[in-house]
């Protein structure tokens, strides 16, 4: 009977997961009234924002993935590639990274938006999953991967321009300001790299992995880390200006407005900090962790707090003029993907693979159909 009970215990691990549930949480990219998003089943989907119709969707991988081993316990996600990062759009190319260590580029036919894009592929030696987003700038695309490297690729053909190796995996999305790229790593450092050749300008050490995307504003780099600290550094040399301590990790990207930093933490709070001194002005306790990066729409910060033990999220607006908090929407789904803003609306991609457009002022909601169509 001992063995049978242990067997049930073992099987329960297959249900609860052993670190294998990499499903993804792609954000939304918008270009020329077309919305691009990576679905939970590994497809890149394009939606016409005007009428909400789907233009096309294309699976990143065309070959079926193997199942989860004996009794479905082996590491495997859904049937295809998990997509965590937000797609990047540059001219007529759309880039997206997969948890399978590959980066994909698709050439969109701008004259025929409904035509399926052409895949532009090049084999790259990336040896780790891609979790952060990709950014495109001046003919290059930049990304970090779980092999610990920052890559700069030619935007047209994917040729590697340079790479820079850190001490551990990278899950963060890079940010570029001028000729400097900033990115965090699991080796507990924030790096500043020269975008022309990847040489290190400086690095700043914390006491925990750096996963969140930095914010660069007015010569200062703002970011949070797993040591529960939020930092402000001089962008020129990485020297510390100030730091602030919360009660849990920082995962979401901070937002700034009118000299005030809005830093969201997994302790469920949005901290309102003076951008110059780091002094806390107040905090909003949302009751659930904030992992999805918030956005500013007009005077309102739109932020999503996701419950831990149930499929539930609440979308809040925090009015920066009077510090008033309102519930914009309650969802029966988790939200981990970053929020995207555009034209007074926000776009939210949920873990149930639903995609919503919400008017911040009126609260009107529109849902886009991005489910896989039967062939």
């Amino acid at each position: 009977m001992v063995v049978i009970l242990l067997g049930l215990l073992a099987l329960s691990a297959c249900q609860t997961g052993t670190g294998a549930l990499a499903r993804g949480w792609s954000g939304v990219a918008i270009a020329d009234d077309i919305l691009f998003v990576g679905s939970m089943d590994g497809r890149l989907v394009a939606v016409n924002l005007d009428d909400g119709s789907r233009l096309w969707d294309i699976p990143l991988e065309t070959e079926p993935k193997s199942t989860g081993g004996f009794l479905n316990c082996a590491p495997s996600g859904p049937t295809s590639v998990a997509i965590y990062g937000t797609p990047a759009v540059a001219d007529d190319l759309v880039y997206v990274g997969g948890y399978n260590s590959k980066i994909y580029a698709f050439k969109v036919d701008e004259a025929s938006p409904r035509a399926e894009p052409r895949r532009v592929s090049r084999e790259l030696n990336i040896r780790g999953p891609i979790v952060g987003g990709i950014i495109a700038s001046e003919g290059k695309v930049y990304l970090g991967a779980a092999d610990g490297k920052v890559y700069a690729l030619d935007a047209a053909d994917g040729f590697k321009e340079w790479d820079f190796e850190t001490g551990d995996k990278i899950w963060a999305t890079p940010v570029i300001d001028g000729n400097t790229l900033y990115i965090g790593s699991f080796d507990e450092n924030l790096y500043a790299l020269d975008i022309s050749d990847g040489t290190r300008k400086w690095q700043f050490g914390t006491e925990g992995p750096v996963v969140s995307t930095p914010l660069v504003h007015d010569g200062t780099v703002y970011f949070g880390a797993f040591d529960r600290h939020f930092y402000a550094l001089n962008a020129s040399d990485g020297s510390l200006k100030w730091e602030f301590e919360a009660e849990n990790w920082f995962w979401a990207r901070p937002v700034i407005r009118d000299g005030v930093i809005y830093a969201s933490s997994l302790d469920g709070k949005v901290y309102v900090l003076n951008a110059e001194t780091g002094e806390k002005q107040l905090d909003f306790d949302l009751g659930s962790p904030v992992s999805s990066s918030p956005v500013m729409v007009g005077n309102k910060l739109v932020v999503v707090a996701t419950a831990v033990s149930k499929d539930s999220s609440v979308v809040y607006t925090l009015d920066t003029t009077n510090n008033r908090r309102d519930e914009l929407l309650i969802l029966e789904e988790k939200v981990y993907a970053p929020i995207t803003a555009g034209d007074g609306k926000v776009y939210i991609h949920t873990e149930a693979d639903a995609l919503y457009e919400i008017d911040v002022e009126s609260g009107a909601r529109r849902e886009f159909d991005i489910e896989q169509k039967d062939s």
Partner: protein
């Protein structure tokens, strides 16, 4: 608050934080932490484990009498049940004595198991699920995650075939030690099937689990093997030794054996060298004379079966 939330709050989350904090004192080594905590928890549970092992052993010791009761009252199930209860009462054994200590240990095994799974965070979702469980009053735990997942060349977050084999092998050893010898061919067949089926199943599962979990299984099973040995010896794992000497005990075994008849010529059993005293000697050491009755079984250890018509003589051979 749901039961799951209560479980997380008072049992799982504390264990997760203890696991992470302990690793800081064990050279930031998660593999070592798994082993040490598994050992510590098993030692703390030893009184219960010992109770359960003794109860199981006592239960095994009366199985032959139970079989006799069932045989005697084969047509009167109620009487059989009554006699069985009377036997249990007189012997001081009960099914509850075997099961209750084990049930009391189950939450501990489950929580250690679940906490290892959660701390072995691999995917981004794992990290997000782990973060709310960390205690803000223990600031170190935030900086310690993710834990060092390399141990003796293993990636604790990835499956490892060698550890999977060890999971199966250790389970087989434990099963073998726990399973009592039986003369009933049907029971023996069932026992043998269980002895192989469960270890093989766990070995296959071990090929899918992170090796950190397999490490926990192997450590826990090894400890239980040691405890089993201390309580009941090697059990069926070590076959009773055979001897070529003709001792006085052989005569005793002969007297215990049923007299052969002509009807037995098609199934001659020859008792070779094992003696009544050598077989099941562990039981003998513990003064359990009832175990000796098992040796009157002509199909006991050390016996060989002569092929029908292979000689005709029903006499026992002397060596």
């Amino acid at each position: 608050m749901a039961i799951g939330d209560i479980w997380d709050l008072i049992i799982l989350n504390p264990m997760i934080n203890v696991l992470i904090t302990t690793s800081e004192y064990l050279f930031d080594n998660f593999g070592l932490t798994i082993i040490v905590l598994t050992v510590v928890i098993n030692l703390l549970m030893y009184p219960l484990t010992q109770k359960q092992l003794k109860a199981s052993k006592a239960m095994q010791s009366v199985q032959s009498q139970v079989a006799e009761i069932k045989k005697k009252y084969a047509k009167d199930k109620q009487k059989a049940a009554e006699e069985q209860m009377r036997l249990f009462k007189e012997s001081g054994v009960s099914y509850a004595g075997c099961i209750l200590p084990m049930l009391a240990q189950m939450p501990v095994w489950i929580v250690l198991y679940q906490s290892i799974i959660r701390v072995l965070a691999v995917s981004p979702e794992d990290f997000l699920n782990l973060a709310p469980r960390l205690y803000s009053a223990w600031p170190n735990v935030f900086s310690l995650v993710p834990l060092e997942q390399s141990f003796l060349g293993l990636d604790l977050a990835a499956p490892n075939p060698i550890l999977a084999l060890l999971v199966g092998a250790s389970m087989w050893v434990q099963q073998k030690m726990m399973t009592p010898a039986t003369a009933d061919p049907q029971q023996r067949a069932q026992s043998q099937m269980m002895q192989w089926m469960m270890p093989m199943m766990f070995a296959f599962l071990g090929l899918s689990f992170p090796s950190g979990l397999a490490l926990y299984w192997v450590t826990s099973t090894t400890i239980r093997i040691v405890m089993q040995y201390m309580a009941t010896g090697w059990g069926s794992l070590v076959a009773a030794p055979t001897s070529g000497k003709d001792t006085g005990n052989r005569g005793r075994a002969a007297r215990q054996k049923k007299p052969l008849s002509d009807a037995d010529t098609s199934a001659d059993i020859i008792v070779e060298a094992s003696t009544a005293q050598e077989e099941g000697s562990d039981y003998g050491q513990l003064g359990d004379k009832r175990q000796d009755s098992g040796r009157s079984n002509p199909a006991g250890p050390g016996s060989t079966r002569r092929q029908p018509g292979g000689g005709g003589s029903n006499r026992r051979k002397r060596k």
